[in-house]
């Protein structure tokens, strides 16, 4: 029950609760309907009624009278049970749900879209996935992706490794879109996998008929069955409901707040296109094949890493603060080719002296950094700043956290950062890699 104070007192006068049919009488009008829950953070002078015609309205309880017509149950969302029979001809695909829009539904406690779905519900609302594979579902978390933390990456990596070890042919991770590219990068560094691991999500909630969740899931299961044994992100290619792009987990970024084709490969092309759960075209043959790699999990991570974006007017305090607070690594989102104002060199030098790893990427998002072109860049290098090349700031941030988990030695960390581990660094920039 989320009604508070006044509203609760009002409901108590007639001894009614959510789900009951009630009549509310006011001066010139009366309303009959089912009492619904109301957002916890709003006014306690209003209650919500669902009228017979299906409309909800909010009623101000001041000078209103309520009486019970008929008791009722609290409304619930139910799906028919589906019998899952295993088909030996089909691949075994595991869907791990971490939450997010793809596995969310209306929560009328708060009146907002909320991840309250279990992984099984996800399957029940998308039963056609069962035509594609033997699907098993596991709920790992139930969080919106803005609430993701590095320790969740660690746990997710562990769970996936365990499932792969027990023989699944592919893994789909249902994830919120906001930080999906952080998680995909983290899994890319942590996990060496003999089978595909595909992250997917939805931009438009599953409770609407136009949700992109269904097509994203179908194609993700398709990708999890495929030979492309990488950590990938599979989401709508365009605004059409048709194709999904399969992006390399380290070279992908959420580029739009709301469009369904928000995920784009950065400084890279998508590996492949999928439609109706089938591969429809492949852009590049340089991907890791199924069983090419042995299963290996290296999920040590240092979470005391910060991502700092420079801007005109930035002051040294920002760097100094992180040094004083004991951060082990700083990822700088510099301007252009990889710059900070030259008055910040002192602070960078101090950070370097205190054995804090500093990696530079660009806020341009596209293109590689190059700190040799301008004097500031050269000064930054001399002060110990490591080049993040063409890594996106997000991928480089995750990589720095992971590298610091591998070694405390600054030199070794530098080597790890500058070495291509999971396709995150493209030394060669193609003309096709921009705004696609």
């Amino acid at each position: 029950m989320t009604y508070k104070k006044l509203a609760q007192d009002f409901l108590d006068t007639a001894n009614v609760s959510i789900g009951d049919t009630v009549i509310i009488e006011k001066e010139n009008v009366s309303y009959q309907g089912i009492l619904l829950d109301r957002s916890g953070d709003s006014d306690d002078e209003y209650i919500v009624l669902k009228l017979d015609n299906g409309y909800n309205i909010g009623i101000n309880i001041v000078n209103a009278k309520i009486s019970l017509i008929e008791g009722g149950d609290k409304p619930q969302i139910n799906y028919d049970n589906i019998n899952i029979t295993k088909d030996d001809e089909k691949e075994d695909i595991l869907i791990i749900s971490t939450g997010g829009t793809v596995s969310s539904i209306i929560d009328y406690k708060t009146g907002a879209v909320h991840p309250v779905f279990t992984a099984e519900d996800l399957l029940k609302s998308n039963p056609e996935l069962l035509d594609l594979a033997n699907i098993n579902v596991k709920a790992l978390y139930n969080i919106l992706s803005e609430n993701m933390k590095p320790e969740y990456w660690v746990e997710t990596g562990k769970s996936i490794a365990k499932e792969i070890e027990s023989g699944v042919d592919g893994v789909v991770v249902a994830h919120g879109t906001d930080t999906m590219h952080y998680t995909s990068a983290a899994l890319s560094f942590m996990l060496s996998s003999p089978v595909p691991v595909v992250l997917t999500g939805a931009q438009r909630s599953s409770d609407r008929p136009s949700s992109d969740a269904n097509i994203n899931l179908i194609n993700s299961v398709g990708a999890a069955k495929s030979d492309i044994s990488e950590i990938t992100v599979c989401m709508h290619s365009t605004l059409d409901d048709g194709y999904c792009d399969l992006h390399k987990g380290t070279k992908v970024r959420k580029m739009h707040t709301s469009r369904r084709d928000t995920f784009r490969s950065i400084d890279n092309e998508p590996i492949a296109k999928f439609k109706k759960g089938q591969i429809s075209s492949i852009n590049t043959n340089s991907y890791i094949r199924r069983n090419e790699k042995e299963l290996d999990l290296n999920n040590k991570i240092e979470s005391k890493v910060a991502l700092i974006k420079t801007f005109p007017g930035i002051t040294n305090e920002l760097i100094e603060y992180h040094i004083d607070k004991g951060f082990k690594g700083l990822l700088i989102e510099g301007t252009g080719l990889g710059h900070l104002p030259d008055y910040m060199i002192n602070s960078i030098e101090r950070a370097n002296e205190e054995e804090i790893a500093i990696v530079m990427t660009s806020q341009c998002i596209y293109g590689s950094i190059n700190m040799n072109v301008y004097s500031t860049g050269r000064k930054l290098q001399n002060a110990g700043v490591i080049s993040g090349y063409d890594m996106t700031p997000e991928t480089a941030y995750v990589k720095l956290a992971w590298a610091l988990g591998q070694s405390e030695n600054l030199k070794e960390v530098k080597t790890i950062i500058e070495t291509n581990i999971a396709g995150e660094i493209n030394k060669k920039s193609s003309i096709k890699h921009f705004l696609n």
Binding site: Y46, I57, I106, D241
Partner: protein, 643 residues
Amino acid sequence: MNWNELGLKMGLEVHQQLNTKNKLFCPCPTELINEEVDTYIKRILRPTQSELGQIDRAALQESKRNLKFDYELYYNQTCLVETDDEPPHDLNEEALDLAITLASLLNMSIVDEVHTMRKQVIDGSNTGGFQRTSLIATSGHLETENGKVVIENLCLEEDAARRVNNDKISNDKIDNDKLDNEEKYTHFRLDRLGIPLVEITTDPSIHDPEQVKEVAYMIGQVLRSTNVKRGLGTIRQDLNISIAKGARVEIKGVQDLDLIPKMAELEVERQLNLVKIKEHLEKNNAEVLEKIHDLTELFANTSSKIIKSAETVKGIVLKGFNGIIGLEVQKGRRFGTELSSYAKKRGVSGIFHTDELPAYSIESNEVEKMKKHLNISPEDAIIIVAHDNDTATAALEEVIKRAKMAFDGVVEETRKALKEGTSEYMRPLPTSNRMYLETDIPLFKIDENKIIDIKNNLPELPEAKKERIIEKYNLSEDITIQLVRRQNVEEFEKIKSEVDIDSTVLGSFLAYNLRELKREGINTKIITTNDLITTFKLLEENKVSKDVIVDIIKEIAIRKDKKQDSQINPENIANDLNLLLLSEKNIANIIKNIVLKNEDMVKERQLGAMGPLMGMSMKQLKGKADGHIVNKILKEEINNLIK
């Protein structure tokens, strides 16, 4: 028909587009666009559960059709909100204010807090798979000549996308996209999606069709007193009808109010016939057999082109239905038509049944073969469908469903109004399960002061306006009705307040002359109130006669249209057209000349020459002199001569 005895109940739903600047949930314009579209997107829709845990039957029905949608859009006149790629913006308060205004005019109670709902509609007409709608007011009424009618609800909702037939362009696109080649798309244009709409619903218990017609007219009058869209397609009326023995049927898209009584009569007739069929079937112990038979082989040598071109022929047996299927339930529409309209929803063009066969080149021996093969008795009927296996099966499943419903008599349905007053099946009636909360839009509390403010500034209703104008300006009822209907009242009053001219001259100009100019093809829209004021001032100052006002206005419109004149000056125009009245001295000179020329006649007839000379003078002075003055001067000149 005796409506009371039949227990006729009717209700009306009126949908009216509002003439707001922006759409209900985004800043796009509210005009339809007929330019070439910029691009397309393709979508599919799936039904979902509402918050009460049910799937709506109408939504489920639509999803069975498994349609794919192609949305035409514009880069600048539509946005990501319409494509369902951006959450809706805040509720358009201009539209909300208009809804509150209308609710107040209909004596309704405004809700305390507006909750925007999603009404599931997955026929593709809404990109999100739902129409956003909110209940704004309830419990109103209108007084009609036949008594009080309750106005139940007023909702503010977004209009749906516009269905277009644009197969050519879209097929090009599909061809490029070979994988999609086999798929069928329904085309919509996003220009109409999101235009604010009010839905006004009456109580469904009106007993007299004439009263429904009257209410429809009155609601129309109320709507027109506010800022609503005008013209074709901006207002849509739906009719709810049931009789005591029948069931509620919603007839969508009633165009002509005068047709309402006829439609009621035809629907009552249909419901009565369906009840008769029910009784007949019960008496016959009729039964719908669910087995779908493959009859393809029986038609191996058929001469029927339709059958021959189909992959399969499938059939079902309806025991005890012989003679029923061919029964007329509504003018020109048989029970078979009802069955067939269900089948058509699965993509077939129609059905064949034994009540009409042999026909359509299906020979009697084929019919007999079929009857024998299916081993039916003379009381039974067969229905066949010729199409591919899946479509034919799906269509017959629908026929089975509908045939079974015949045992319930009348079925609750949404039907489409046809021109002659009959109707055709569209889909099952939607249930309240189709509604769930639109969580992207915050709840909107309606400020009491806003309501008070709106109620204090309500527009004048047309009837009240008419009476006031007649009274105040002593204008004829005819002219006033025209002014009210054409919304010229405000302009009339404005001009009257600025220029001292005769009400009837101004009134008939606005009511009739302007319309005539428009009919002549003159662009009357570019004539401003100010143009009219300056022109009528010439009349007030006796610089022109009232007969040439139309000519001056016409010339103003022509010049403005051609953008010839940046500074429109009616007096200059009157001068250019040689329409300015002459001074008395000039008039006197001209008349003196005429009198002298006719000296003999004047001398002979004396004042008796007034008639002919008046005619000559007016002819020569056409439009440039007032008759009174001409008359006066002429008399003086004649008297001068004969003295």
